[in-house]
């Protein structure tokens, strides 16, 4: 177990390092680094001073180490646009994005799991065929288009839900969370549904495939031979067996959901890191871009590692096999 963790940690460290080199080269080596790191509005004297201060006259590899050292100290430059440390900007907006991402995953599970179970149990019923066809649709629909349609239907035509922004927040343990207020939930609902849609199709597929496989197993027949009620068979015997692969896949998907929030946040003007990065790319606010990329990659790698560990904890067979080894 610990061997596994250490090996993965080392792999993750390698990935991060590779990312940092890539980002460094992209930002510092291509193009004039002066333009990149110093605000375009600076005059000659400022540029000269900054060049010396930032060590831009030093050899490239030395600059890389300076960059790396600064990064490890949490200093990834200052945003041109906001004139604040880039990292702080990102960390400020992170809770909003995480809230949205987790809400989306929750919606995907709450909607997708029952539908997938149903499709797996009764694959020939008309509803099941509809869901199966619909999941191709959900898989194909570009997130941004669905977001637009959601706004069109619920906000513009029906005036049911707000179309932009985040609702009122409540501060819990230093974090501003909006799902604890009714207004917050109203604002959270559409973006969460939008973000969840591509994952719902995945959850349905996984649940249906898992259910189809499990339902033919001997132990399900034995459960029926015991005279158990079908509800118990489905909710306990079938569900527990399909949950493990679903949870692990979904865990790996959280990273993708966080990355994909760039689209939803832009459409719904949700104040998270996704909205920030798009704006930053458009105005070439490079320090923020660098900070976002490094942080998101770190996040994704960490989540992947955690899910790997979680998997071996959840599946009793894996856990005991490792213990014996």
């Amino acid at each position: 177990m610990t061997v596994l963790i250490i090996r993965r940690l080392m792999q993750s460290a390698v990935v991060l390092l590779a990312m940092s080199v890539l980002v460094f080269l992209g930002v510092f080596a291509i193009g004039n680094p002066v333009d990149i790191l110093i605000s375009p509005q600076a005059d000659q004297a400022e540029i000269a001073r900054a060049t010396a201060a930032l060590g831009l006259d030093k050899p490239l590899w030395e600059q890389y180490f300076v960059f790396l050292r600064n990064a490890l100290h949490g200093d990834l430059g200052r945003s041109f646009v906001f004139n604040e440390p880039a990292l702080r900007l990102i960390v400020e907006r992170l809770p909003a994005t995480l809230e949205l991402a987790f809400a989306a995953m929750l919606v995907a599970i709450v909607l997708g799991l029952p539908l997938g179970l149903f499709v797996g149990l009764k694959p020939d019923s008309p509803l099941a065929r509809l869901v199966a066809a619909g999941s191709i649709l959900g898989f194909s629909l570009p997130t941004f288009w669905v977001g637009i349609m959601l706004i069109l239907v619920f906000a513009v035509e029906l005036h049911l839900l707000p179309s932009t922004g985040r609702g009122a927040t409540v501060n819990v343990l230093g974090l501003d969370l909006s799902f604890l207020t009714w207004d917050g939930i109203k604002h959270l609902l559409l973006p969460a549904i939008n973000l969840s849609l591509s994952r719902i199709a995945l959850v349905i597929r996984l649940a249906a495939a898992g259910t189809r496989e499990v339902v033919h197993m001997d132990y399900i027949k034995f459960a029926r031979a015991k005279g158990l009620a079908s509800s118990r068979i489905v909710l306990v015997h079938v569900l527990r067996n399909i949950l493990i692969p679903i949870v692990t896949v979904l865990g790996l998907e959280i990273g993708a959901v966080i990355a994909f929030s760039v689209v939803t946040e832009t459409i719904f003007a949700w104040p998270g890191i996704g909205q920030l990065i798009i704006k930053s790319i458009t105005v070439l606010d490079r320090p923020v871009i660098v900070a976002y990329l490094m942080l998101t990659v770190l996040l994704v790698i960490t989540i992947n590692l955690l899910v790997d560990i979680l998997y071996s904890v959840l599946d009793p067979r894996v856990r005991l096999a490792e213990a014996r080894a």
């Binding site: 194909s140 629909l141 941004f144």
Partner: protein
Amino acid sequence: MSALTDETAGIDAETPFRRLAADFFASKLAAAGLAVFAAILVVALLAPWISPQNPYDLASLDLMDGRLPPGSASADGLVYWLGTDDQGRDMMSAIFYGLRTSLGVGALSSIAALLLGGALGLVAAYVGGRVETLIMRVVDLQLSLPAILVALILVALLGHGVLKIILALVVVQWAYYARTIRASALVERRKEYIEAARCLALSDARIVLHHILPNCLPPVIVVATVQVAHAIALEATLSFLGIGLPITEPSLGLLIANGFEYMMSGKYWISFFPGVALLIAIVSINLVGDRLRDVLNPRLQK
């Protein structure tokens, strides 16, 4: 005796391809998907000739015709079946051209990714050893990152431009192709006929190209259809966000972005119809790809 010869005669008449086609078309949905996709392809290819108006010829545009609802007519009798955008462009023509760009970029990047990923995958499978490990580590690494993140990284670093976007899409996709082809090639490499070919001292290149490659095709075809749909969707997403194709090569994503701001005031058609076109393109490709996957999956074949 006669029963025996009857049976074998029946088997000879049906080639694998014909069986494949029969299995494929057994699903009406997939057949419909293929038909729709073919129609879209035709429209995209013939866009300059079948569009009522060239939406990018500024001279032919009339600002006064801007933001007209679907079905309205221009001063000189041209009917705007799907309405006009804020510049007075006929939406239908804009959509035809947009399809062209979207499909073109999607297909081009996919083909390039297929060639790159396929070559690397074949090399990895055939050569093995440290080369294979290195290639597959990079593949695994990239596949562990969400596609959109990879695209964002590349766009942020490379900047704008058609070629740069295509490059970004290629980099996003090559890993899928590499992994699929390597997996198939590995299975093939172990089969006996490759041993036989080796014994006959055929050159490596010949073995790879003539023997291994054709047998890898079925899963690659499935992956390719899915990837093309993904590429189209990804490009549309990037263009919508404003960090994709430049305005000079408007794809459907850009058209949708243009119309977004007009949605609140009820002028839905500027966003809606390009969106529907995009949807139809992606869904039809996915229907075909899904059916191909079921049909080509050796496990499901009875």
